[in-house]
């Protein structure tokens, strides 16, 4: 029975896509017979669209992300980012379609993980944006938040965090730890996919040595391989441990487990 329902959905999906994008129904049906039909949106090149069709698919993807975000907002009139998957999807909807510049954003959360405010803190060129820690600090203190989720896009399409991505995360974790504000995640967006540092266990521990307010240029060029992404784990000294004891994750009730990292 499930397959028949799936067929009903697939046939409408194909009909809509044909009308909007102009890709032939037969081509889509042929692809769907042996593959996951939704690949057409995620990896449009597999159906060899022309330039115009490809552009339309990108716009449609952006619209779908925005539609999902609106639905989320309408549901409760406030967004609760209580897990990396929700945060990932939220930032995909804000940064997913941006290919011409790198943009750095932060969502400032209250103790229940509700978004108090989401701000764009830096916008740069296609391969680089400069992040000023003092701007992030000012924004966080202005809204009296309890935790922060950082996010930025890689216009180049790579989902791997760069060395600078790691550095800015470590700096901000260290700056906010004494203030009892947790940097719970850093999400990287490429196309309509996301990478969550928290999900991969790569949020660094706070370190007094990392406290610096110098600007950090982000770039999706030099990436850090997964296996070397231990950040300052293993290099903790006495000072680090003292700082660690000041690093609280104070979140309300059920949500606490979801963000445990």
């Amino acid at each position: 029975m499930k397959k028949k329902y799936d067929e009903a959905y697939a046939s409408n999906f194909i009909k809509g896509l044909t009308r909007l994008i102009g890709i032939s129904e037969n081509k889509l049906k042929k692809y769907a017979a042996e593959n996951n039909l939704f690949n057409v949106l995620e990896h449009p090149n597999i159906i060899e669209p022309n330039k115009q069709q490809l552009e339309k698919i990108h716009v449609l993807n952006e619209f779908i992300s925005t539609y999902k975000l609106l639905k989320l907002q309408e549901k409760e009139n406030k967004i609760v980012l209580n897990a990396s998957t929700v945060a990932g999807e939220y930032f995909v909807s804000l940064l997913g379609g941006i290919k011409d510049k790198e943009k750095f954003m932060a969502a400032f959360l209250d103790s229940g993980n509700n978004i108090i405010e989401t701000r764009t803190l830096s916008e740069g060129s296609i391969g680089e944006a400069v992040v000023y820690p003092r701007m992030v600090l000012k924004a966080a203190l202005d809204c009296d938040c309890k935790s922060i989720i950082l996010a930025h896009n890689h216009p180049g399409g790579s989902l791997n965090p760069s060395i600078q991505d790691r550095d800015i995360t470590e700096k901000l974790v260290s700056i906010f730890a004494p203030l009892q504000i947790s940097v719970v995640d850093h999400i990287i967006i490429a196309n309509i996919n996301y990478y969550s540092m928290a999900e991969k266990g790569n949020i660094p521990l706070p370190s007094p040595k990392s406290i610096s307010y110098d600007a950090v240029p982000l770039s999706d060029g030099k990436t850090v391989r997964e296996e070397t992404m231990g950040f300052n784990a293993g290099t903790l000294d006495k000072d680090d441990l003292e700082m660690d004891s000041m690093y609280f994750f104070e979140q309300d009730g059920e949500e606490e487990e979801e963000w445990e990292i």
Binding site: Y9, K15, R19, I64, L70
Partner: protein
Amino acid sequence: MLQDITIKQKDYERASQLLGRLFKVDSDITEQISRCIQYNGAEAFFKNLESFDFSADVFEKLDAVRLVLFGMGEEVMPELVANEIRTQKIDSTEGGAK
């Protein structure tokens, strides 16, 4: 809370601008879409598509977006139509027997 409203307002505008780009229509159509989505909400906008005063061409394109969303499992069809589509498909795959 005010910020939530501001973010939402921006997202409504972004959604309608993206549809405008996709359909290649004038800004007055984009504004009309924006007003309708804002007033009804994103999901209800598509569910009630037939009740708005869009030209046949714009309706056709919005309906195509609705079909894509429906295909992705979104509840955007009026309930009766959604049930009809599912039933028709099941009937046809079972040789049309009722």
